[in-house]
Symmetry: C2
């Protein structure tokens, strides 16, 4: 297994959708569906949950605690969805790489409480030191929020923009953004339109753009202004995202430990390799048909991102408005890359490992070293249209571009990583993107009420459905709890 | 069967996706898949075609003529896809209603030649007389292109806008819109943005909006400017669409006669009720798994609209860029309604049956009477956001709104139709909208090359893939011929 190989100057590719990392730990815990033919094994339970990501597992945990009999169907051969941790050095879980979600912010109270309950400690991310900025072909370093060449006008435009956006965002009800007083007006323009009309400094505009579209969605397409305001409010404290990274925490041993530990508690209640392709849905129950198993239950929770939830065949067919919602909420696209070095060499130069850049495949980086500080790990993000450009290239070509970017930012020592890892979430057959789905113009106001409303015996969860921390791990936890609570009132 | 009932003062609803109209004619001609269990019947052929709409059937026809062994898999219990004709009076095919595509424009040469070959004659649509306009609560009638209260400035803005749009459109290569000189700029704005910046008259703006977004896509969401320019060039002669309807032709006996007649020629080569849910795809062949049947073939053609093509499970998974294309091209949404009257009573008032309106559920109508002129039939279109509002209501509520609109436009005689028919394409489980898919901002330039490029042994067709007459019947015919030709070069 490649991910367990000893360190060496090699390139690692984690195949999208294939068995990786922690999955091998988990696989042995799961009850495997016994039959190879579609839907042939018949099961029944109270609530069947589609998807063993954080939201589905949290829903299963809450329902199980209430003595509800659950079964979780997972298409992959592992749990965790968009949380995926690998351990490159065999037997050493202190050296881990998070290919997926990883950062925990202040205010993400349910996630933090859940981690505490499961016994997964947090550690502060590495972030002390100066950030590197790359702009118009020039490299500079800076501390604080703005590179030193920024005019005070440009700085003020960012600060004023943040304030103005937060004021607007505060008028957007998180559970019903389409009811905001200016919803119709804000949903017929894009966030980019608003920036163009409200900022004159290109620097300020780029930072405000990156601080929302990049951080929250990594969307190749344009976000509606209403959608941008929704995520701004949903994530609290916008200004945090305009600082170079470094104020958040991470999970010791990696974020996937959370779903893995929940799965251990749910022993026997999760079926892996069980891709769901049909749901027969009526008011008194569901029949969920997956590879190898058919499950009858009183209720179902579908936790997939909307665009993937729409690919299941529903019988009867979903109402048009819910189906159209799923047609209109594409996934963002990130290729997350890691370079491993013997030490955190950038610290010697006074650098934090964070980059802001207007050029290259990787324009955002961070120090992603484990809590021990060894080895040194830099993470980079290839986002949106850059991911579109890089994805068809060979691993070697991407690796070369990434390393060239890292050398440009951190000097020649960055040129010889011990290992290179990458994960293209757009190519992951069961995620088809990251960080999450995004809302284009007009969609919140046209289809918003269809996002969470149960249909027949089918309920919806997943971080894309969460009012709070939408698109984040915390949103996934909240959405799972919400769906579980919804079902507990009707069972 | 309700659709064969004698005329009477009743309301007819064609259930989305259920057996209707011409399907009963066709059903008996088709070889039914013999087994009830998923994918259990094994077949093989040279080329398997997913979808028995116009594009799939045309591809099958061309390939069969070249002695290629084809099999067409159709999820519905009928052929024709978004072409659907019903015959309300039993045994009388001269009284027909087209729930789906119906108009044939000059320049649609392949469709016209195909109809001629199949022996389906055309007739001119009814359209002589004055159009009704409804604006700001006032009704007026007019002939020519503009209501009489329009200022010459407003008229000139439309004419200048059309000219400017056509000049811009002429720089957009139909087979590669993303290579237009201004593609990036035009794809980061919406058509609505352009109209706002280039027209001051609200009347002119509304007509230019309706003439493109309404006619071509009926999109609830915003079209990118580049996408608008593409459809403008693709459909030729934009100005046609700013005249009240009446210059096109229709098929005698209804548009579905074309696919039905092709199906008759393909006897034994079409399997109905065969929903395709998985395609195993590699460079030397495919395995297509449907309800009841699994087909092995050297090549496959998937003819579904992109958003539906993306719901099939591909093994290996589609490349991310192709998958993201399918996530980002939602369907438009039209509810097409017909009222049947003993006579074409509006002719006595000098009216053509055409309406332009800024209010109500139905804002566009036409005289849809058959070539005999009896009975009198008015068709109305509930489009985009109006469809979203009306769809959840009861049939009776929609009928009442539609008839109230018709009375407002055509007087009290419109208040007592013999019959009311409706078809909500958004609720059709195998179309999920009409007229077709549309491109939001940034999608042509991000994913354009992925629209038609074959992947492994899978080729793509369907009117959404056609450079010419994209979204129209002619585009479907051309796309079928294109995919067939593509395959003939490699078989």
């Amino acid at each position: 297994m490649r991910h367990l190989a000893q360190l060496g100057r090699r390139t690692f590719v984690t195949l999208a959708g294939s068995a990786v990392g922690a999955s091998s730990q988990v696989g042995t815990l799961m009850a495997a569906a016994p039959s190879a033919s579609a839907g042939s094994d018949a099961r029944s339970c109270d609530v069947v949950i589609v998807g063993a990501g954080l939201s589905g597992l949290r829903a299963a945990m809450v329902l199980s605690a209430a003595n509800v009999n659950v079964l979780v169907l997972e298409a992959r051969d592992r749990v965790g969805g968009r949380l995926l941790t690998i351990y490159p050095a065999e037997g050493n879980t202190r050296f881990f790489i998070d290919h997926g979600g990883q950062w925990v912010s202040a205010g993400q109270d349910r996630l933090i409480a859940l981690a505490d309950e499961l016994g997964v400690p947090l550690f502060p991310t590495w972030g002390t030191g100066a950030a590197v900025d790359w702009h118009n072909g020039q490299r500079s370093i800076y501390t604080g929020m703005f590179p030193s060449y920024w005019s005070s006008d440009a700085q003020n435009q960012v600060l004023a923009g943040v304030q103005q956006l937060e004021e607007m965002a505060n008028t957007v009800p998180l559970d019903a953004p389409w009811t905001a007083p200016n919803a119709d007006q804000w949903d017929t323009q894009t966030y980019a339109d608003w920036l163009a009309a409200n900022t004159s400094s290109e620097l300020a505009r780029a930072m405000l753009e990156r601080g929302v579209t990049g951080v929250f969605n990594s969307s190749p397409g344009p976000l509606s202004l209403l959608a941008a305001l929704f995520v701004i409010r949903s994530a609290q404290d916008l200004i945090r995202h305009f600082h170079p990274l470094g104020r958040d925490q991470r999970f010791v041993g990696g974020a996937q430990r959370i779903p893995v530990k929940i799965a251990q508690r749910l022993r026997g209640k999760i079926l892996l390799n069980s891709y769901v392709y049909q749901i027969n849905n009526n008011s008194d129950g569901v029949e969920v048909i997956a590879d190898q198993v058919t499950v009858r239950a009183r209720r179902a929770i579908v936790t997939l991102p909307p665009t993937l939830a729409g690919r299941i065949r529903y019988n009867p067919a979903l109402p048009a408005s819910r189906d159209h919602l799923t047609e209109s909420t594409p996934m963002g696209w990130v290729i997350k890359v890691h370079c491993i070095y013997p030490t955190r060499f950038w610290v010697d130069a006074g650098l934090s490992g964070a980059v802001t850049s207007d050029e290259g495949a990787v324009r955002t980086t961070a120090d992603n070293s484990p809590s021990s500080g060894k080895p040194g790990i830099l993470v980079g993000f290839i986002e949106g249209s850059a991911a579109r450009r890089l994805a068809p290239l060979s691993v070697e070509q991407r690796r070369a571009e990434v390393i060239a970017d890292f050398v440009r930012y951190f000097g020649p020592e960055a040129g010889n990583p011990l290992e290179y890892f990458e994960y293209s979430w757009g190519d992951d057959a069961f995620a088809r993107g990251a960080y999450g789905g995004y809302w284009t113009q007009g969609l919140w106001t046209t289809y918003g009420p269809d996002l969470r409303a149960p249909i027949g015996s089918v309920h919806w969860a997943g971080t894309e459905t969460s009012p709070d921390w939408n698109g984040k791990m915390e949103g996934a936890v909240q959405s799972g709890e919400h769906a579980a609570a919804e079902i507990l009132t009707v069972l």
